[in-house]
Structures are given as structure tokens and as C-alpha cells.
Symmetry: D2
Subunit: 450 residues, 4 copies
């Protein structure tokens, strides 16, 4: 049986950073992946391609003031494909340079040190001293009649995607971040967008105060809340989506339907036999990324902690560091300092503990804000809506923050660093942030408390 120091299940952001780090330190590593390529959902159909489209539309929207430019969606998709191709190529080169290999196949855990892989040519077993489960997540498609008629993010964002022309109208089932990001750019490009959400608000996992500030700033879209979708049906060239709303069944006719109700962890086979603990949200891990079997790690979406590429990457490195220390932890993941940006237009980004959670935890907090309408760069970019809002505990240490508007996805990183390092309001207040950049809002907001 071929033996490795480490086997990773998956070759995406939850696995390859670890593989590279371990390889650099002389460990033998085998990555096993269904797609057989180094890239998880993020590059395949997630954050990278979606942002390639959305940010192009976003840049474009900043210039609308200057004339009637039109931009062809097909060209944007081509740009997206270009970006994906560049990255796939770079990944290949990096893999090659590092001397790492990926086995295409489906992995199953046999015992605490053995993995069986089903490939095109049969089954084989591999042994490893340590295992990293980084199998990621997949789009959750609910059991609704006609669900198969709907696009998922794959049809929009995969390389050479099916959708290269925008529909005139679309129903997006699910008001989560994927739904709203897509809704955002389509609306800006002229599609008539309807979002149908089961719960009574969009972005339901996020802070309600923050979301209620974002929603009015979104591009024109029809939001239907508290409405379970019952059926999708083809009706000529169009689709009919029916949903319950306030006790009645309503119907909407659209050219396309996008299913965006959420994602679910993709567990490898064998967890139960090994007694690895998990529930529907993911495999249970400690902050050293160890499962209940200390040399088996679970990183990224599959543990459900913070299903984001950059969290997966960090977790993956935590696992690598702890494997190198032979499972006596030397590195720990800090979930509180992982930022989350929703690439709607305007963007919203947040990190740490926001009011909803603070209240739940019984933490009293002090808040302060900065309005984008006063911000020089927001004015320059014609993005004068939104705000920065920072939250401090009673000791004036930053515990959380969000940004809606100009450069939200940039600003959030400095707030995250503040949370990571236990900084205080005064630490922010005393910075001389670059002018004119919206980062100035961080010191301005903090200074209101001083």
C-alpha cells in the first residue's frame, strides 16, 4: 500500500495550502479530489468567477454618471473565463513546481490511517499518518417539483458557463449572499429580478440591523419574503414559479430561475465507521482543526465553522502546522477575526460580534459610525450611500464591525486585524489613514468615542 505522511481529501482551499506548506517542509502529500484539479468550489463556480462578473459590473456602475456606456454581458463572461483560466494555469504551475500530485477520485475513510479511492480504473488504498478532510460543500437543492429546471451557481459561474446572455427576468430562490450578489449585478445590467425568500428577511444568518441598512441601497429588485417556493414549472419559453405568501399561493413568470438556497457540507464516506463526530452543519473540530481523532483534521466548508475560502485556507494552514508538530497543537484558528464580504452593489462586509450576537451572548457594547455620504473617496466613486459601524465592548476593545458601501471588502480587513490583536477604539482613532480613502472612516468613527 502506498504510504504518505499526509493525505488530503479534496484539493481546494481547505487542502492545498496545507499540502504546499507540508511539502515545503519535506512531507510527502497526496491530494485526492473528485475533479482531479487543484481548486475548490471557490474558483470553479464560487467567489472568483462571481466576483469577476460582479466587480466588473460594479466598476462599470461607478462610471454610469459619465455617459451611456453599454457593456456586453458576453464580454464580462469572457473576462470571467479569462480570470479562471489564468488561475487554473497558475495553480497547475504551482503544483508542478512544488512536486505535488492530485489523484482524481472519490475517497472513503477505511480506518484511522487508510483511505480508499475509487478512480476511473478501480479502487486503491493509501496509507497516511495524518489526514485532512477538506471535501468542501455543494449547492443544496431542495426537493421542490421542477427544481431541476433552475440554474444553480454552476450555470452562471463555472468555466465556459451555459449562461452567456442575461435573461430579461429572473426569479432567484433564496435571499442569501449568493442570491443577492447575483440579483445585484443582474439588476444593474437591466434584468428584472425577483428574489423569493423562505424566511422573513434576506441574509437571514447575518445581523438584522446591518441587513436592514443594506436592503434599501440594493439595486432595484423585487423581494418576496416569508414565502416557501412550491413548484417550478415550464410555461412556454418561460418558467412559472409558485410560492406561498401570506396564506395564498402566488405565481410569477420569468425567463430564468436561479436556485440559491444554500450549501451543505460534502462528507466523505467512512465517518461513522471511524466514529468521527459530525452533524448536518459539519464535522466537529476544535480550534486546532482536529476532529475527535487527533491526527484527522477537518478544514473548510466541511466543518461548517465559517464556510469561506479565506477561512478554509487559514484552517488548512492551522492543520498543517499542527501536523508538523505531530498533533500537539501549535496553531489555532480564530473565527472571530474572519471577515465576510457580500459583493452586492453596494458591498457589505462584516467581522466579529455584531449586535444580534452580542445581545444573545449578553455582551454590552458601544457603537459608533461613519456615514459614507461624508467620505471623500465615496464621493469620488459616486458611492455616497452606506456606513461604517464599529462595535466595542465596555473596555473599548473592538469586538466587531461592518461596512456598507465604498471599499467595504477592503476596509473590513483592518477591522479584522483589530479584532485579532485586541485593539481598542483609541488604537483606531489615532491612525492617520490615507486620505482620501474610505479607511479614514475608521479613525473618524473611533474618534467619536474620544
Amino acid at each position: 500500500m502506498e504510504t504518505y505522511d499526509v493525505i488530503t481529501l479534496g484539493a481546494g482551499g481547505a487542502a492545498y495550502p496545507a499540502a504546499f506548506r507540508l511539502k515545503k517542509s519535506g512531507y510527502s502529500v497526496l491530494m485526492i479530489d473528485k475533479k482531479g484539479i487543484m481548486s475548490g468550489n471557490c474558483l470553479a463556480e464560487g467567489c472568483v468567477p462571481s466576483k469577476a462578473i460582479i466587480e466588473t459590473v460594479h466598476n462599470y456602475s461607478k462610471l454610469k454618471k459619465f455617459g451611456k456606456y453599454s457593456i456586453a454581458y458576453e464580454d464580462i463572461v469572457k473576462h470571467k473565463d479569462d480570470v479562471q483560466n489564468i488561475r487554473y494555469k497558475q495553480h497547475d504551475e504551482e503544483l508542478h513546481e512544488a512536486g505535488l500530485k492530485i489523484l482524481k477520485g472519490t475517497a472513503k475513510l477505511i480506518d484511522e490511517n487508510t483511505v480508499e479511492v475509487e478512480t476511473d480504473t478501480g479502487k486503491e488504498r493509501y496509507r497516511a499518518e495524518s489526514i485532512i478532510i477538506g471535501t468542501g460543500s455543494d449547492t443544496y437543492v431542495p426537493k421542490i417539483p421542477g427544481a431541476e429546471l433552475a440554474w444553480t451557481s454552476r450555470e452562471l459561474y463555472a468555466l465556459n458557463p451555459k449562461v452567456r446572455k442575461l435573461p430579461k427576468s429572473i426569479a432567484i430562490i433564496g435571499g442569501g449572499y449568493i442570491g443577492l450578489e447575483t440579483a445585484s449585478f443582474m439588476s444593474l445590467l437591466g434584468t428584472d429580478v425577483t428574489v423569493i425568500e423562505l424566511l422573513d428577511r434576506v441574509l437571514s444568518t447575518m445581523d438584522s440591523g446591518m441587513v436592514s441598512k443594506l436592503v434599501p441601497l440594493l439595486p432595484k429588485m423585487n423581494l418576496i419574503l416569508s414565502s416557501p417556493v412550491k413548484e417550478i414549472r415550464r410555461g412556454g419559453d418561460m418558467f412559472e414559479v409558485s410560492y406561498d405568501h401570506e396564506g395564498k399561493t402566488e405565481k410569477i413568470r420569468v425567463e430564468a430561475v436561479l436556485m440559491a438556497v444554500g450549501r451543505m457540507p460534502m462528507f466523505p464516506e467512512g465517518l461513522d465507521d471511524l466514529g468521527i463526530k459530525y452533524d448536518k452543519h459539519g464535522i466537529k473540530v476544535n480550534m486546532a482543526m482536529q476532529t475527535n481523532i487527533k491526527h484527522i483534521y477537518a478544514t473548510g466548508d466541511v466543518n461548517g465553522l465559517t464556510p469561506l475560502f479565506h477561512a478554509a485556507k487559514r484552517q488548512s494552514l492551522v492543520a498543517a502546522n499542527n501536523i508538523m508538530a505531530n498533533h500537539v497543537p501549535v496553531d489555532y484558528f480564530d473565527p472571530l477575526s474572519v471577515p465576510f464580504t457580500v459583493y452586492t452593489v453596494p458591498q457589505v462586509a462584516y467581522v466579529g460580534i455584531l449586535p444580534d450576537q452580542a445581545k444573545k451572548l449578553g455582551i454590552s457594547y458601544i457603537e459608533t459610525d461613519y456615514q459614507m455620504e461624508k467620505d471623500a473617496m465615496a464621493q469620488v466613486n459616486s458611492e455616497m450611500e452606506g456606513e461604517i459601524r464599529l462595535f466595542f465592548d465596555s473596555r473599548m476593545k473592538i469586538i466587531g464591525g461592518y461596512v456598507i458601501g465604498n471599499d467595504a471588502g477592503n476596509l473590513i480587513n483592518e477591522i479584522a486585524l483589530g479584532i485579532s490583536k485586541g485593539l481598542s477604539a483609541r488604537d483606531f482613532a489615532e491612525m492617520a489613514h490615507q486620505h482620501p480613502m474610505s479607511f479614514e472612516g475608521l479613525d473618524s468613527a473611533a474618534r467619536k468615542l474620544y
Copy 2:
């Protein structure tokens, strides 16, 4: 004689933040300003209007891939005027709300507590317990025959500026940041740009290694180095600029000339009589912003420390805090953590101690980098050139860094915070920066050392 707690000489970024802070704490404050409005050079003809133009052109350049958009310079100027008007209006409102007043006139120091102001209606004297000198700087125009024929930044960037149409060709005298920013956007909009620099490199006050990486990435422009300009002469519709170069006198014919050789501090009258120490670079201050007379402060460009709006603002607040503590310092300015962004395309931004200075100080350093060609958001924005470069001392504490390329002016703020708080390479390495944002490069670069 009217008496105030505090008088500020100037009403720009070196003065008004202090005025607002002091007023909020119940101090009586009089601002005296030549222009009579709350705004220094930055809003009048500096950072804000220049960035309104440049960043618009920059956003535009990101979209060039998608079609033959044209953008009218006149519309951009109009946008710039809009931004300035918005800000002037906001400043007025803020001034009004705060109950602060500005006296239009030229101030002269009479004694340690008395200021004489020459206004349209005569001279008057005012008394104050504390004085903040924040008189700023002005464009330095060298004594060259024909210098008066050249534009300064005023003609381009002032409200309702003279220049509303781009020249076909321009000679920019001075390869400092103002010269290169202007050169950058004009080149992108099609002007034939020649920069004539006295010294043997552009951005001569900045780190040579950094600048040598930036220069090849700038938009097409003709850089003539080591060349003192001798004369500007009108020649029909055109101008002739003659300069010495390698022992010979050369000539260039252009539609316009921009004088951008630097700025000089604007000292108020009376410094010598009071014995306040200064030299040509500025008034001497300690890090509490006190001159040698402890209740007279000098903030912003007039002290020459870090002639940037955001530094002025911070210094101004340092002065305010120390005035409130009756000149027993409670707050100190940290020059090392002030970032400086040059808004060329691509941008370059830096902070702290870079190699040239480290060598001069005898500090040994370790460097690490991240190449923008590998960066997802740089790829999305079609800005795949440039790099992040970080410098650490032998203890692995960050001492400086620069960014060339995508989001440089945003990224630099987090590096500055790291310098301010004494963070280490590992502190950066362990952050899970937002993906896909170029901030990821900060952790990637730091991780090369781990």
C-alpha cells in the same frame, strides 16, 4: 482685545480637526485663514480634486478591455467640481453646526499670546492662551524665465478650473508625485506627456527600489531626467520648454506646461520676533506638536514632517489633545505609521522604513513579497502588475512596506496599523484576509517567512 482659548492660523486639515475637537470640549476657538473658508490646499487644489479626476480615469481604465468607451474630460472636471462643491457645502454645515467661526485675513504673530489679523477692513488683534500654526504650504515656483506661463496644480484642480479640456501635449516640470499623478491620467486619456526632472530619478524623495519597480508600469510617458529647465517661452499656440541635458540644451514644443517642482511651507509673519525655531523645511516641533514655545503648536505642512492631509489632521488632533491637557503632553504623533499613496496608475503606496532609509539607519531587515500577477482581485480588475513588499527587522516586527498596483492605497492602511502597533510577520501571516481581495497578499507575503 477679543480673547479666545485657542487661535488657529489656517483653517485647513492642520487646523479644523483641532478646532472641532476643542469646540466640542467647550473651548472658544477662532480660525484665521486667508481664503476665509474651512479647507486647506487638499480640498482647494490638492488631494481631493486631483483624486476625483484620477480615480475616475483609473476606474475607466479598468474597463477598457470591454469596449471602446470614451469619456469626456470635461465631464470628469464637472464630476470633480461636484465633489468639491459637495465637500465645501458639508464643511460649511459642519462649521455652522459646531458654532465655529473663521476670520478671513492674514495673521501675524505679535507676541506669545497675540495675533494680528489684516483683513479687508483693517488690522485687528486677538488674544489666545494657545495658538496652532497650521498655515500649510504653497506651490513652489522656481525663478525660471517664463515660469508664469506654466500651469500649477491650481489651473487643473481648483474649483471651476481654467483647464477643462486636455492639451494634446504637455511638459510637466518636476517628477514628484503631483507631476506623475497628473502625467498618469493625462497619458491614459491620450495626451502626449513629457516629464522633465532635475534629478536623476523621479519621486526622488522616495525609496529608489520601489520607484524603479513603479516606473516601467506607468502609462506611456517621456521621462527626461537630470535636466534643469532653463526657460519657458511662448511659440505661437505652443510653448517651448528648454532644458539642459547631458551638457547640451534641448528644447521641446508642447501645448501646455505644468509646473510641479514641489511645495514650500507658508510661514506666518512674526516667527523670528518670537524666537520660534524653523528652517526652510518647516517650523521645528516635538512629537507633541509643540514649537519651542510650548503653548504654540505647528501642525501640517508648515512643519514639514509629513506634508500630507491625513498627517496634518492627526497632528492637529495631537495639538488639540495637548492643549486640553494644558501643554503637558498626553498625545504624540507617530510619523512612522503615516502612509503615503501616489495616485498614479498603477498606484504606489508606502509606509514606515523602506530599504534606502534602513540602510542609512544601519537597520538590517528581512523582506518578503507578493506579486500582483497571482492576485485574484488584481486579475478581476485587469491590474496584474505590481507587488506588495514588506520589510521586517531582525525580530520579525514590521518596519515598513509598499504596494504597487491594485488597491495599493487601501492595503497600505493595514500595513500602517501593523507598524503603529508593533505587529510581527506572524501577526499578518495568521490573518484570514477577505478573498478575493488583494489584502490576501499581506498574509501570503508574511507566510513566506514562516
Copy 3:
């Protein structure tokens, strides 16, 4: 009416640090104090004199191994008086140098800016822009028959105290820190000590786990728990203390009785008229030390937050800083990073959030320890009992810690700094603490998690 910038009610640790700071910045300050001297309870009969006795006994106990030394209690008391005299003299000199004055009398708040003082010669009123209430606390003497027969800390610790010879036996009513510190040293010097505590454990306001580790290490003493004292009665040369215990009334005969059941805030008159909010624990303040009237501050024991001299001093400075900023807060008190040392033998010291409180707040924590029996300096000092115990949140940030044994009161300061600055287990683990000092235990303990 005489007018001052600031009036302080009290002249102890909650007041004079502010007075000095304000005076240094040119504020006029009047301190009003019943005793008419600059010193609160701490110097008069609290921390300083008690530690002068206890630490002398403690040093003495370290040498017991080396022979039959005897030390006369009278000499220790003399040493204590020396220390108090030195400090009173130094305080006087400092007061004189600073040009501050103290008015002897009892202050009453008349309105938001007026204080009436009753002195030996009558009543007078003073006006101030800001007021700091730092009136401290006093020994709480419960209404038990014969309570007046018991000593309080005054008889033991005041300058030239009544008690200059140790009793052969003593009953200490109250197992708080004052009771146990006194019990500790008396026991070491040969007194037969009985502590009678109302509740079911001593040091009942402190973490139960920590206390249960301390108690077995204390010098020999008789602890009677869950026992309300009913009466103290003279019986010849002796006293009889009767108390209820498990349903029966018990009695004990002792040479002396010490009342040490706690302290209570000393409110000035006038709080109700002004509408200043308070309850039995103290005057309500925010972390800027402001009462509900923003220019009236309450600092030290009178607000009940953390009734310790060093907390009072810090709060006092917070008030001073905020007064200088005209009540727009620039400084905030951090209760979590205030250490508390009990000078028993061995000492116990703690700071931050310990398990009892963590559980109450729903914070999950990770703990680690270091045993003093392994510590070189503990061995050198023949203090091989006790431990360091550190608590981290799930992000590995330190949230609390305690030390029992050698140098506890020193070690706790570094833990406090760690809490103040948001440091992680690794930050401690990587320090090279001085060897052989018990501070080594801080890195050793942290390293168990790495």
C-alpha cells in the same frame, strides 16, 4: 463664593492622583477631606500598614528554616509606623510642591456646581466646574450586641495603633480578605486564630476553585463556616463570641475579637437632591467615571466597581483626563485588567475572568497551570506550594489568571497587562522570563497549550 476648576470630595487614592494631574495642567483644585490629610483608607489603616506587618512576617517565615529567630510584634508595629510616617511625610512634601490644598471638613453637594463644607469653624460654600466624588468606604460594623467590643482594622493598622502586642487567641468575624490576611500573620506569630464566617466559604466574592486551592495552604487556623455571629460579650479578661452553627448556638472564648465583615461606600450628602444615581454598592458610573451628571465623577471605593487603591488611582486619572477634555471622554477604565492580591501567606492574586464568572457569562475557556513545587525561586524561598493558573478563551486570548504562592502579587501584574492588551497564550509562551524567578511559570504554563 470661592471658585475652583475642580473640587474633589476626599483626598485619598480616588482623589489626589487626579488633583495632581489637573494641577500640573494648570487647573485650580480644592480637595475636601474629613481627615484633612492626603491619604485615604489605604494608608491610614488599609493596604500599606497591613502589608508592612504582613510582608515582614512573610519574609520572616521564609527564614524559619534557618534557625529559631524570634521577632517581636512590637518591633513590627514600629516598622509599620515608620512606613506610615515616611509616606505621610512624602505626601505632605508632594502636596506642598504641587501647591495643592486640602480643606478639612465634611462636604455636601448643594447643586451641580456647589459644595458646602462643614469645618470646625462653620459652613462655607465652594463652586467648581467639575466635581470628583472620591469619598471612599468605611468598615461595616453589623448590629450585633457587643460589636463595639471588637477591634476593627483601625486598632491594628492605624498609625500608633492601640494593638502593639498580639493576643494569645483571637476570633476574627468575617472570612474576607482583611480577615484572612490578619489571621494569616497572627497564626504565623503564634496566636490561636478562629475565623467565623457567615457564608459557607471564605473569600466568598472570589472564584471558588481558586479559594479551595488556597485554603489548605493557609497557616493553621480554625475556620468556622455558615455561622452568623450573634453576640460578643466580655467575660473577665476574655471575650465570648457566640454564633449559630448547624442549628445550634456555639460559643468561643478568646483574648480579642476582630470585626472584619466588609466595607461600605461612604456617600456624601446631597446625592438624592441632585438626582445622582446610586445603590448600596456605590454610585453608578460609566467607564469614563462619569455619574449620570457628566461633569460629576465618582471614583474609587465609593462607586463599588473595584474597591482597591490601585483601581481608585487609575479611575481618578481617568476622571482627570476626561475633565481636561471637558467631559467628552478621552479615557476609559478597564475593570478586567485590575489585579487583586490577598496578602495571606501564601499570597493569592487574581485578575480578569475566572471560571465561576466565565460559567456565569457563558464563556468557554481553556485552562493551563504551573505548579510551584517545580519552581526554582519557590524552592529557593521555601514556598513550594501553590500554582499559577491561566485561562484563555477559545481564541487563545488570555481572559484571566490567578497565582497562589511565591511572588503572586508580582506575577499578577504581567497577567493583567496581557489581559489589557489582548495577548494570546503564545505571546506568553514565547517570552524568556528571568530565571530563576516564578515568572518562568507564565511561559511554562502557556506552553502546555502549544
Copy 4:
């Protein structure tokens, strides 16, 4: 050939912390040591036994005020032996528990992965993937006629030492820290002490300003500076030490002579053959503790960086962490934050950059102080001499500090933490350090700058 993951040359503080850490992570480790026991110079004849004597005398000196105690030196030596025995026993137990082994013998490097050991029974070779050289240092005995007549620290501090009675008079050759520590306690116990120092000041490697403050506070001793010792000669029951002084040869008659001129690194054989770089100060290493051969590390006194036990321990762990990462560094040593305490009476302790070095490096600094005569605990301990002195750079970040007097060896640790984490004067100023502990001086000193 027996093969291990790691071989350490030495089994003292530079080696065993690494051995334990690596063993805990499953590495096979062989320690090779001349003495064959886990303990370097520190426990054998260095810091631990010397402090067992000195601190006992120190505690004793605090009580002198209270009576004519006498303490027998023989009892102190017995206490020292007790402490050493306890520690040797604990080390044995720990070794046994960890399953580590020590080979008694002299190691020689054969090639990059092979070590030859000469034991009592012959020579054997061992192979390892990584090697840690932690061979320590030894007393340097200069070639002076009669040098063999002098004691070294061995005769005083080794287990069951030769010297169990104090001489009436002693000449100590060398005014380094070992010389002065010994001089200190002997003087306090009544010995007539003369220190003869070659250079023009004692503690010549330390900051001159600090030392000049310490010297007048030392117990009575005769310091003869700028005086090379020429000869030691027996003269009846006494010794004659002759030395040059101001051009003349002088002589002194004493009962005993201690040689304490310094220590020198103990290099293993084989460095030259392998091309490992070193000079007389030690083996050259980077801050990851790697020699020029990246899998061979040199830690502790043998590299000459900071020849202190606690530095050795930290360096050893740095090596272990980097070995676990397969020589791709993940951990770095920070020499600036290593404190150094001299256990004279009073103690002196320092850390970071002090004025002499700052001047050499061209760093401008701001200093502040706190005088022990004002310190409550210093008064309690009758140690009212000395001071705390802190040094900050122009950004107000702490760069160094020293403490002379009460609890110096404790206080220095918090200053070290401040340097390690880049803290500012204000970070110290805002702490509420435990009262009455000399740590209060840290905030008081810092506050003078605020």
C-alpha cells in the same frame, strides 16, 4: 548505526527543553552530555545554587532591622544543596516520564548527520536528521601564575561544595556579575571583600549609566579598577594577590581568592571539518537558531548571543519548533526582550536597548524614572534605594528599561513583555498595577511622560 530524529549535544537549558518538546511530538531524541545528567551549568554551579544562597541572604538582610539575627553560612549552603537535590530529582523524574535518554560522553561532529561519542567504554557513532549544539560555556581561567589556587564558582556553588564556611577576607578577580553577586552576599555576611577588575568599571558589558547608579548601593566592598592581576601566591594560611594599578604593582593578603573573569563557549569538535562558522564569542546562528548548515542548530551559551539560562531555554524551543517544520523557520528568537538580572543586593535588572547602546545605534530616546524611595513596598522591605528607569523611542514605544532595587528581577519581566509586544508609554501608564507592589513604579514612571 543507531539513528535518531534529533541529537542534542549537551543536556542543559539549551538542549532539554527542545528534547522534551520534540519527544512530546513523537520525535526520537538522544541527548549527549559530558556529565550525563539533565542540567547545564545553571543548576550545577550557576544561577540556581547561587540564587539559593544570595536570595536567602537577601531575605535575611530585609529583616536586619528587627534584631540581631545571625544565620549560619553552613545552613545556607545546606539549603542550597537541598534546592539542587530537589531539582536534580525532579529532572530525573521528568526525564523518566518523558522516556528520554542521556548518553554520558563527549560528542564530536563527524559529518552533517553523524555524531561520534566517546564514552567510558569506547567510541560509538549515531545518526540524526537534525542536530542541536547546546554545549554551553565554561569558566574562563586566565593564565596567571597561581590561578589554580583560586576558587571558581564551582567551589562555592556546586552540589556539596568545598566551601561551607565563609572566609574572613576574599579577593574576587573580576567585577562581572558572578563576581559582584558573590561579593554582595559575602559582604552582607561579614566577609571583607575586595574586587579586582581589569577594566575601568565593574559590569563592563552593561550600560554605564545604570552601573554607576548601582555601585554606590552595593554592600561595603573594596573595588580596585583598571588593575590586571599578575599573580596569586600562597603565603602561610593566606593568599597574596598582586596586581598592577596606576603603574605600580600592589599586593593584597586574603584568606581566599575567587576567579570570576568570565565564561567562554565550549565548542564540540568537528565544527571546522563541517565548515560551521564560529568565532571566539560563539557559533554563528540566525534568529531561527540555525547555523550555516540549516539542520544543525546552536542554542544557548555556545552561540554567545545572550548567555543566560532563560535565553537558552527559549532558543532551544525555537530550534525544536523549526526542526518540526523541517527547517523552514516558523519560530524566531527575539534577543531584545530577554531580561538580565544581576542578583546583587540590591538587585539590578535590565532589558532591551539602554542609553549606551542607543547612542551607538543612533537611536534618540526619551527616558523617565521612578525612585524607589517613594515606593510603598520598597519601604515595607526596607529597600528604599534604587530606581526604575524606562526608555522610549521618539514614537513612545518602549525600547528598554532597568530596575535597581526592590523586586528588580520581577519587574523586569513586564518591561520585557512590553518590548516584545511593541507597547507604548501609555500602555504602561494606564495599567492599575497592584498596590503596594513596586510594579506601581511602571505606571508612575510612564505617566511622567503623559
